[in-house]
């Protein structure tokens, strides 16, 4: 079972994510998916994941601008499905547009993180977020 599902189409972001996870003391397990459609299929066990066992992560990190279904649509689908409706969903996006934030929360995102530009800020943000959602926060659906 992956601790984190990270939905991200930008290979650089994915690479940096992998790198900073690998530098952690107790690195969590993660699954990287590069499109919104694939994320929906995985979480809802449909499409190419139909009939397969797809263990739910403890945290979903999701970019908003994605090929195919975008981040908003993924949030909407996840919240509309009983299996995943309480899944911790954290938006992780470059956008600081208040409209995007508002919309994400309206659809049921649990938190909204703006991607920092510096590597050090990124790695600090991820360390804190992963600590919060995987260690501090209680999740017993």
């Amino acid at each position: 079972m992956p601790d984190i599902l990270y939905v991200e189409d930008n290979p650089d972001e994915a690479d940096i994510f992998r790198r900073l996870i690998s530098r952690m003391e107790n690195p969590p397990s993660f699954l990287l998916l590069s499109s919104g459609s694939e994320a929906i299929d995985y979480l809802l066990q449909q499409g190419t994941y139909q009939g397969q066992s797809t263990p739910l992560p403890r945290l979903v990190l999701i970019d908003l601008k994605l090929p195919g279904h975008n981040g908003f649509e993924v949030i909407q689908q996840v919240r509309a499905t009983s299996r995943t409706c309480y899944l911790p969903l954290v938006v992780y996006s470059t956008s600081d547009n208040p409209k995007d934030m508002r919309r994400a929360y309206d659809l049921g995102a649990n938190a909204y993180l703006i991607k920092p530009e510096s590597y050090h800020q990124v790695s600090e943000m991820m360390r804190l977020a992963i600590d919060f959602w995987l260690t501090q926060s209680q999740y017993r659906p």
Partner: protein, 746 residues
């Protein structure tokens, strides 16, 4: 007459039933089959040698008129009646006691009426040969360039034929008052040309009679009239209808009227235009009796009929010429509007304007909330009030009157400019109207007497209808009336309205299309902004992060020179990132929705102060917040305005040892104004024009970081709030930026 006499009394007098004839002739009415005598004029006694009463019921063949045997008359009647139309062979010459007479016959009221009149004693032959008369009339018509010329020639010709002292041509107005438009007279007579006569001078039933009986005359007003006996004819209980009798005696009222003018003999000939009475040829003789015999009357009748025909043609020509010209002008206005693609310009800014569409002397166009005036018009406020009244008065799309002051009393104040108004409604919703004005037609009319006093009181106290004794000229001013609006004027106003509305609709469609293009462009811009934000910032972040990672992982292997190069890469990507962020903010101000609400300003400003001062811990900054009235606006945008103004204030006071920043709000009924003052480097007013321009930076700011976006954003936000931004600056002393937000009652 009754004591209630008024102008209509005259209109009720049955003038075709007088039962009297003039004394210069004889009248006999007979049964048209048996030729027994039903009625005869009293003066027949002289010739017949027996009283009228003894003649009644006898056959005409049994009587004797002087030396003219009744049997001859009887034979003449038989011949006349054989054709069925006895008047076709008029006149029938007869000789009585050596004198030539003419018998004139016609059938009326079931009777055959025989009138005997002498041939003219005045001139051997008054009547010219018919062909020469026609030739003369035709050549006059051809040589006359104008209608008044033709009328004058005709008057002269009639005077020549008849020998009357005065021949006038009298033209009726719309209200049936008459004007003398041509005159031929003996030199010693006072001219009547140009005089007007009130409608009551020729009452309605006289006008009706004039349409049927084209020529009639009075040979001598001083001769007593002769009764026709008995009063009622045959088995009828009424006098005979003398409508077509040439000897018919005229109304005593008319005789008195003529006497007052000193007229001894008169004749009038009707002029018809499209079966309506257009005017009269009126002949007066002052020096003695004047009898115009039948052949001369027929000649005059011919001339007047020719004139009537010409009137029809001339009037049609004149009308169609005017109408053609107005139609051409209407077309020109339409083309001007299309060419300019502008209603106001097309209608008012060319040599041909809406004033050329009719006979109006002033015009007003209320269009797109602006009033445009042409020619002689009332004042703008008077017109706007008038429009308010008009639009509530009529639901129609066109309204016209030639006596506005009588309908709308305030118009009396501007009747010299607009006693008549023609209005077309362009759009009630948009409050758009087009109006034309005609001035009061101050008719300085020369009346032939006072038209207000046709009724006079007799010595016995009865009111009685009497023509005026005084014929002195006097002037009456017809108040509050303009020329009336012609059919063609109204029709063209409506045509122009159609053309105008078509152009307005065309423009509206064009604007709708442009709006749609604008909306699409805005959507594209928003999409573009989003792409810029995301797609440019992501690779930029990658450059920055990998540079950091490289320094972290391999920094130990780099010398100072290499590290400096890497620092430059990081700084350059920081600057680029900031620039992208600024552009994003600027474009978002234009595209994002405006969520206006009342904002608690004190909290916002305190928070901004804390955030902005957090990075300036080493500096000595006095930051003073005074009155903070709340204002209505979009929270994010207003926050951005103050964030930009305050960070500028902090930035540009960096060189000052003791920076001082004051923020102060004030409010009036209309707006809330905030002033942000600092004692920084300030702005050279010579460069004031650049301050709010996008990407423009002042010389003095060259050494400060920034891209010239902040104040452009402020200006854009204020403009979206219908607010204002301005500033004043004394460099290094006080620079104040003001922003004002309108207060809305919502």
């Amino acid at each position: 007459m009754q004591a209630t006499a008024d102008l209509t009394t005259c209109e009720k007098e049955p003038i075709q039933w007088p039962g009297f004839i003039q004394s210069h002739g004889l009248l006999i009415a007979v049964d048209p089959v048996e030729f027994t005598i039903w009625q005869a004029s009293e003066n027949i006694e002289e010739l017949a040698g027996q009283p009228v009463a003894s003649l009644i019921g006898q056959s005409i063949a049994t009587i004797q008129l002087g030396d003219l045997a009744g049997s001859l008359i009887h034979d003449m009647l038989v011949i006349a009646m054989r054709s069925g139309r006895p008047e076709a062979f008029n006149p029938y010459p007869v000789k009585i006691r050596g004198r030539d007479w003419l018998a004139i016959m016609h059938q009326q009221d079931g009777a055959l009426i025989v009138e005997l009149e002498p041939t003219s004693q005045l001139h051997g032959g008054l009547a010219k040969p018919l062909h020469s008369l026609i030739a003369q009339a035709m050549s006059d018509i051809q040589r006359s360039k104008t209608l008044s010329q033709l009328l004058e020639k005709t008057a002269q010709q009639i005077k020549q034929i008849t020998g009357f002292d005065r021949v006038m041509i009298y033209r009726f107005g719309e209200d049936w008052h008459g004007e003398v438009v041509a005159e031929a007279r003996e030199e010693h007579l006072v001219p009547f040309l140009g005089l007007h006569y009130p409608a009551s001078d020729i009452p309605r039933q006289a006008r009706e009679l004039y349409k049927v009986n084209l020529v009639r005359g009075i040979a001598d007003v001083e001769e007593p009239r002769v009764p026709i006996l008995p009063v009622n004819y045959a088995q009828h209980n009424r006098p005979l209808d003398l409508t077509h009798a040439t000897l018919r005696s005229v109304s005593p009222v008319h005789v008195e009227y003529l006497s007052n003018m000193g007229v001894r003999a008169s004749m009038s000939i009707s002029l018809l235009y499209r079966s309506e009475l257009w005017g009269l040829i009126a002949c007066h003789h002052y020096s003695g009796p004047r009898f115009i015999d039948y052949p001369a009357r027929q000649s005059i009748k011919l001339v007047s009929q020719l004139l009537s025909t010409v009137l029809e043609i001339r009037k049609d020509d004149e009308e169609s010429e005017v109408s053609d010209r107005l139609h051409d002008n209407e077309l020109a206005l339409y083309q001007q509007m299309i060419a300019d693609w502008d209603v106001v310009q097309g209608l008012t800014k060319h040599p041909i304007t809406i004033l050329d569409l009719n006979e109006a002397t002033g015009a007003a166009l209320l269009f797109e909330e602006e009033l445009h005036l042409l020619g002689d018009t009332p004042e703008p406020n008077e017109i706007l009030t008038l429009i308010d009244w008009l639009k509530n008065t009529t639901p129609e799309s066109v309204f016209q009157t030639n006596q506005l002051p009588n309908l709308y009393p305030p118009a009396e104040g501007f009747r010299t400019k607009a006693a008549g108004v023609l209005m077309v409604v362009l759009s009630r919703q948009m409050n758009e109207y087009l109006l034309w004005f005609k001035p009061e037609q101050i008719q300085d009319v020369s009346w032939g007497g006072n038209p207000d006093k046709p009724v006079e009181q007799t010595a016995s106290g009865e009111l009685r209808l009497s023509p005026r004794k005084s014929f002195d000229k006097w002037t009456q001013i017809v108040r509050n009336k303009s020329q009336s609006w012609q059919q063609v004027e109204v029709a063209l106003a409506l045509k122009l309205r159609e053309d105008l509305l078509q152009i307005v609709a065309g423009k509206a469609n064009q604007i709708r299309a442009l709006n749609e293009q604008l909306r699409l462009a805005n959507e594209e811009l928003e999409a573009f902004s989003y792409t810029v934000s995301h797609d440019l910032r992501s690779p930029l972040s990658s450059i920055k992060r990998y540079t950091e990672i490289y320094k972290e992982d391999y920094g130990d292997l780099m010398d100072d020179n290499a590290k400096a190069i890497f620092d430059r890469i990081v700084k350059a990507s920081d600057r680029m990132s900031m620039l992208i962020r600024n552009i994003m903010q600027y474009s978002q101000v234009g595209s994002s929705g405006l969520a206006r609400r009342l904002l608690p300003m004190k909290d916002m400003l305190l928070q901004l102060r804390d955030e902005l001062l957090a990075g300036e811990t080493t500096r000595d900054i006095t930051f003073q917040i005074e009155e903070t009235p709340d204002l209505e606006g979009d929270q994010t945008m207003v926050n951005q305005v103050f964030s930009n103004l305050l960070s500028n204030a902090i930035k540009y006071t960096r060189s000052v040892p003791e920076a001082r920043i004051v923020i102060k709000g004030s409010q009036s009924n209309q707006e809330v104004i905030y002033a942000v003052t600092d004692n920084g480097i300030g702005i050279d007013m010579k460069q004031a024009g650049k301050v709010f321009e996008l990407f423009q930076r002042l010389d003095s700011a060259a050494s400060y970081e920034g891209y010239g976006v902040g104040l452009a954003i402020v200006k854009r936000i204020l403009s979206r709030h219908q607010g204002k931004v301005w500033f004043e600056s004394v460099p290094h002393q006080a620079t104040t930026f003001y922003v004002s937000f309108p207060r809305r009652i919502s």
